[in-house]
Symmetry: C2
Subunit: 803 residues, 2 copies
């Protein structure tokens, strides 16, 4: 071990020796079960000598972190039972699946969830065999694991998940085990500051346990090698009061850790009591506010495993990260070591003749839903209540005729969200998160119902900060995402508003959440949870202040790569369609919904009723925008998806009616992007017959698209009309310039679209050639004008849509 | 302001009053120029009253952070000149573009780079007008900005960039201004620990300046609201010795900041002197090692701007983030305030009659390449030397016949990289970065030439840790990426090895780097830099230990969304093709190269010569794997890209030759994915004639693809044969299971591929129906076998390719 133990200052009565002996025995049982899962196909109880055939042919899993997780789990059992604590635990080192599965089997929750894995010798054998085995269960803590809301495969999100679980759950204790490897990641490092947002009155407590076992896959970890005084400063700098527990002698660590836990829980109770008595926590220069406790637990990696293998140190080193002993089928010596290792836990003391936990062993665990594997917060759908959503009529904008009025779509949505905030004031089960962009994204009306959560000092000049707010702003997309995931997974609702380009920061996080949802949809015991809703605004076409670095529409394509059961993408073109889309998403379950919408003033096209009908269909003809006659197919289809492309397509349609009135034009708008996909590829995929009726089978389709143009091709390549689809979208051309200059730079402007039509509709004649030249001239004069005056041509700037 | 000033303990002689006066005047000039850029179209020198027409019609930019950046720049000028320091500065709050542009104009570097923006009144007017104006320059610090290696649009990467610049540049001072907003991000939070990797002997120094102006876009920042003692603990916990400078009185801050800078630079010099005299820094329990200094600079946001606007506080609040005074054309009062604000800098003292900097003003700036805007490290291509690359013959594996031998591709590559490490031992201009996966990815041979960089304590049990190593491992993909970007941008070379799934963690970072490269390619004064090379391994098909959470092949599609000039994607199918690809990438410039390759033992298909030829073409027929005759087109094309799909396609080809020998089969392998794209869409895009010759125009193409199947469609949708292409790839089906079970789960297995051929080649008759059933039976028996035995069927496990 690195540094000597810093034993906690005893505050609570130390646990009795008998209690510690029980904990130790329980821990041994969990360790035995962890090793068994990694190694054994048969002979689970070791009632006979270990043979080659008892060993799995492929040894897959992670032992290194498991004994530490088992230690924490055993001790949590003790305090949950003693204090009647409603507790979830986030296992950051989620690759330690064997540990959490072992504990779930021990306390009976596993068998209740999966009745074929009985709590006896036969069930134990099944538990072992199924682990990381084809047709069995994953090697990590996963959706399949009872009591889990956190797949630890990708590291970095445990502490933000733990906070998400605690928000608005005042009686919940959210314990978070953070591996020292995970602690090196950016998302984890940022999320320590979540305590600046944790309201001791309305939120539960988060107890971080930084578990230093010293090594990652193959390297020492930074926090484990910092001088202990520096690590202590770091934790204090993060705002915590650290309690250090260090050791490798089991009974010493059991005693110290029990004391540490008691001390932390006492401290948490005191912080909450004080704050709740006062109604809130005063914080300022003279009142620095409470320091929440946390534990630094330093134990050897691969603790209780083989000390050396083939002459090399294993326990306490990176070599125990996965499988401390390899080639156990091939090597008799390794097999001997494995048997010795398994027998060192004295299984005969742990399990009875039938392989059930021995008498008294499981007495340390709590009962019923207090068990970590059975806590309903960890199967949040069980607790979920539908959001109270008022009729949209109260918020919709009046639209007498298409293009007759102008609104900022997200600002109107802000009014709707404000009402959701207001109507959940008592229930406290809705939160809005965002990286310091709520006001920029024009959703600030919500502050009227719930301010911005903030537990640090508040100055007179500040606006809307609140000790109890449910609007959350931190300049970390990772933390926003982690908070919201934790909040949703424990049965609440929310929305994440973000600049479109920078939501890519959470690409990898959303991958994991979608994988989680895809898996839980197949687990009947997992109740559906509220969808994760993104509102992406300040989008690619309107980054007037920021330019090229802030332009990227790729997130929708990223999400559409994932399991179609769980993903939805919407591009509402105006205010009422945004409202209708948002209402639908807020009421939905088990999806990731991505809504991209503008915040800038934009024309209203549809009344509320029209918007509802259009959104329900997901795509449809806007007859008022075209000029086709009923008796024949149009000459060209102008399709659009997204607010800016819709404006340009409508303008192009108007130009065509003016300049080439003989042309029959159909305008199709797509809100629900997955409708472009084939039936069978996505639940919203449109049947071919419907698609052909909408887009024709062989007419030119000029498609103005919000994102990268090839996304449309990737979705629609199987359609009959596909060879005739020509898409305009963002092609990485941009800077700080005017809105119209942006669409010109990317060939999405109305003039270019008219040229595209002329280039693709056959037999238009000489008149069309002249019109084409006029359009080209308009583009050129725009470019010259904007470079001189710094604003768009009045013709496009003050354009109004006329029916 | 929040807390009172903590003035630094004076170590150096305080600057004279005259010096401070000069600094203050220079600062005023930079502030004037910053405001002018945001607001003025004309009347740059304010030689007449401000009129409506002088004001830009759209006010776009960020003033809030600019005065602080100007302060730092002015003071850096002083110390660079006084101490003759080779310095780069990373401006984390890169939205403060006006500040860096102002300074560049003042010291002459801007005019040297862009001669039409002269250093006189006319040039000043041009500087103002072009800012954030159509056809002009971006509002942020950008590739276009002289002296910049960091586009600050997306926040979080300044400190890792600063470290990347400092590595292996022992004489360089890398100053890093970190905004307090940026400091909330995960990537930034993680990157403080970069000091655990900074070698005081071979690396330069990094001086972080955490600039607290208190507010983000619309919210207070966390670090600015922590009690100062807690912030101090946090910085110490990160391993720094903080020096605090706080104030809003300019002359006081000038004095304190000058003292703080001197103190820090003295401390840096002392650390380096000590370490370099000893050869390295001893660190252990009794020798905690040096604490590098850093500065916490606390000044008001929007400092020197309007104190109140329309009755609301602006200076010192979030309201000054962008444009403190809006509607200046419309509001006479705002116009009056703007004029007052501009005149408060007393431009008549700052610029002479011709609008040139007044006599003596620029004397505080250094000369030549010591100027921040002219330092060659900030245009790193100027310093770049080609890597010494040995002939591949020394590393290639012997391949007598296809499939006749087995190798671990990345392990062989490791030998090659080891030699690159060895051959750059003196030059020190090559680094390998990775998130604790170098050994897991089987590149550990490199440690033989250069160990793993590590400045914390080293234990006896550790292996390959080194105070001077150039292999770098931190469990933060963000930090790896940031380090490497900083290293490349300052003219060196490197490679990032990463698990394929988790490279998505840096999706948003690579977006920014590609945007940077795309822009610099169009700037003649920017010299080309070495490409950013990714080696993605432990890929989607072989996550035996980890399962679903670790499976995601989407990064290649993400990258292919970006500017084609700057992106390349390679899927080498075996060891020699990997070597050939890696050699090509290491010698290339200004690209992001993504190589996906396996680490597991795999068949060798091509000799080195064959590999070179194949990689040069990027795609080609593997005649030995098919059985077509010269006189007619094949009945079916089996195409493949990626190592696992290639194996399955080759096995399918062999099965077809065995079971349906009458079928004429062509096998095509694709290494360079962009070759699938049309000519004109990507520099590597294949002309249609070549594509048609390779894939035919109308025969069924069964394509086994490494990633998501629709990526092939998105790339190839314009090809004649496209309607006949059927792609198999990853479709989000996975868990911890066997390698062959993974391909079966995703319908990419050889049996399924044979069935696909049978389903798509017309006229095969009854024999084919029987074969199809046999294949289906094999799939089913595999599934049953693997679920019983936990390993793949011997038939596929021990499969060997026979010619």
């Amino acid at each position: 071990m690195g540094d000597p133990a810093v034993t906690p200052t005893a505050a609570a009565e130390p646990p009795s020796d008998a209690e510690l002996q029980n904990l130790e025995r329980y821990w041994r049982a969990a360790n035995y079960l962890s090793v068994g899962q990694i190694y054994l196909m048969d002979n689970a109880l070791l009632r006979r000598p270990l043979e080659v055939e008892d060993i799995k042919p492929r040894l897959l899993g992670h032992f290194g972190t498991s004994p530490g997780l088992n230690l924490v789990h055993a001790h949590l059992n003790r305090v949950i039972k003693a204090r009647n604590l409603d507790t979830v635990c986030i296992w950051g080192p989620g690759h330690g699946g064997p540990a959490v599965l072992a504990n779930s089997w021990l306390d009976g929750t596993y068998t209740e969830t999966y009745p074929d894995v009985t709590r006896d010798g036969e069930g134990m054998a099944r538990l072992f065999r199924q682990f990381s085995f084809p047709g069995g269960v994953p090697s990590h803590v996963a959706p399949e694991t009872p009591g889990s809301i956190h797949e630890g495969g990708e590291l970095g999100y445990s502490l933000s998940h733990a906070h998400g679980a605690a928000f608005d759950n005042p009686d919940l204790l959210s314990v978070c085990v953070i591996g020292d490897g995970e602690s090196e990641t950016g998302p984890l490092a940022a999320s320590w500051h979540s305590n600046a947002f944790l309201d001791p009155v309305h939120d539960g407590a988060v107890l971080p346990i930084l578990h230093l076992n010293g090594y990652k896959i193959a390297n020492p970890t930074i926090p484990a090698r910092l001088p202990e005084s520096q690590l202590d400063e770091l934790m204090r700098g993060y705002g915590y009061e650290p309690v250090h527990v260090t050791g490798d002698d089991p009974m010493t660590v059991h005693r110290d850790f029990a004391l540490a836990l008691d001390r932390c829980l006492d401290s948490i109770a005191e912080i909450q009591r004080t704050a709740r008595a006062a109604g809130e926590t005063e914080r300022g220069k003279d009142a620095p506010g409470p320091r929440w406790p946390m534990i630094v637990l330093r134990t050897p990696k691969g603790w209780t495993g083989p000390k050396t293998v083939d002459g090399k140190p294993v326990e306490g080193t990176w070599r125990s990260h996965q499988v401390p002993l390899s080639n156990v089928r091939e090597s008799a010596e390794h097999r001997r070591q494995l048997e010795e290792w398994l027998r060192s836990y004295r299984p005969e003391e742990l399990f009875d003749d039938q392989g059930r936990p021995a008498a008294g062993l499981v007495d340390i665990a709590p009962q019923g839903t207090l068990r970590l594997g059975a806590n309903p917060h960890a199967n949040g759908g069980l607790l979920l209540r539908s959001l109270p959503l008022r009729p949209l009529e109260e918020f919709a904008v009046a639209v007498d005729k298409p293009g007759g009025s102008v609104n900022e779509p997200t600002r109107v949505l802000g009014g709707y969200l404000r009402q959701v905030m207001a109507d959940t004031a008592e229930r406290r089960d809705f939160r809005l998160v965002g990286p310091d962009e709520t006001a920029s994204n024009r959703l600030d009306a919500v502050y009227g119902a719930s301010g911005k959560a903030w537990q640090e000092e508040i100055y007179d000049v500040d606006e809307h900060l609140s000790r109890h707010g449910r609007s959350m702003e931190i300049l970390s997309e990772h933390t926003c995402q982690g908070w919201l995931e934790g909040y949703l997974l424990t049965g609440r609702h929310g929305l994440f508003s973000c600049y479109e380009a920078f939501v890519h920061i959470v690409d990898s996080m959303v991958n994991q959440h979608i994988k989680w949802l895809r898996t839980t949809r197949e687990l009947p015991w997992r109740a559906p949870i509220a969808s994760l809703n993104y509102l992406l605004t300040s989008h690619v076409w309107r980054q007037d202040h920021n330019g090229f670095s802030h332009q990227d529409p790729g997130f929708i394509g990223h999400v559409l790569n994932k399991s179609p059961e769980a993903v939805r993408v919407y591009l509402p073109p105006d205010t009422n369609t945004l409202l209708s889309t948002a209402e639908h998403c807020l009421a939905s379950r088990d999806y990731v919904n991505v809504i991209v919408a503008g915040k800038q003033p934009g024309f209203d096209w549809l009344s509320l009723d029209e918007a509802r009908e259009h959104c329900a269909r997901g795509a449809g003809v806007w007859a008022w925008a075209g000029n086709e006659t009923r008796d024949r197919e149009p000459d060209v289809v102008l399709a659009c998806a997204g607010d800016v492309p819709t404006l340009e397509i409508l303008a192009a349609a108007l130009l065509l009616r003016t300049y080439l009135p003989e042309l029959s034009v159909r305008v199709v708008n797509v809100v629900d992007v997955a409708r472009l996909m084939p039936e069978g590829e996505h639940p919203h995929g449109m049947p071919d017959a419907e698609f052909d009726a909408l887009f024709t089978r062989d007419k030119p389709v000029i498609f103005g698209f919000h994102g990268y143009p090839w996304l449309v091709h990737r979705l629609a390549y199987r359609r009959a009309v596909h060879p005739h689809i020509h898409v305009r979208g963002y092609k990485e051309r941009g800077t700080t310039t005017t809105p119209f200059d942006m669409v010109v730079a990317n060939d999405l402007d109305r003039f270019r679209l008219v040229m595209d039509v002329i280039d693709r509709v056959p037999g238009l004649g000489v008149r069309a050639v002249e019109v084409r030249q006029q359009m080209e001239d308009k583009r050129l004069s725009h470019r010259a004008y904007v470079r001189t005056h710094g604003i768009d041509l009045p013709e496009v700037r003050d354009w109004s849509w006329q029916d």
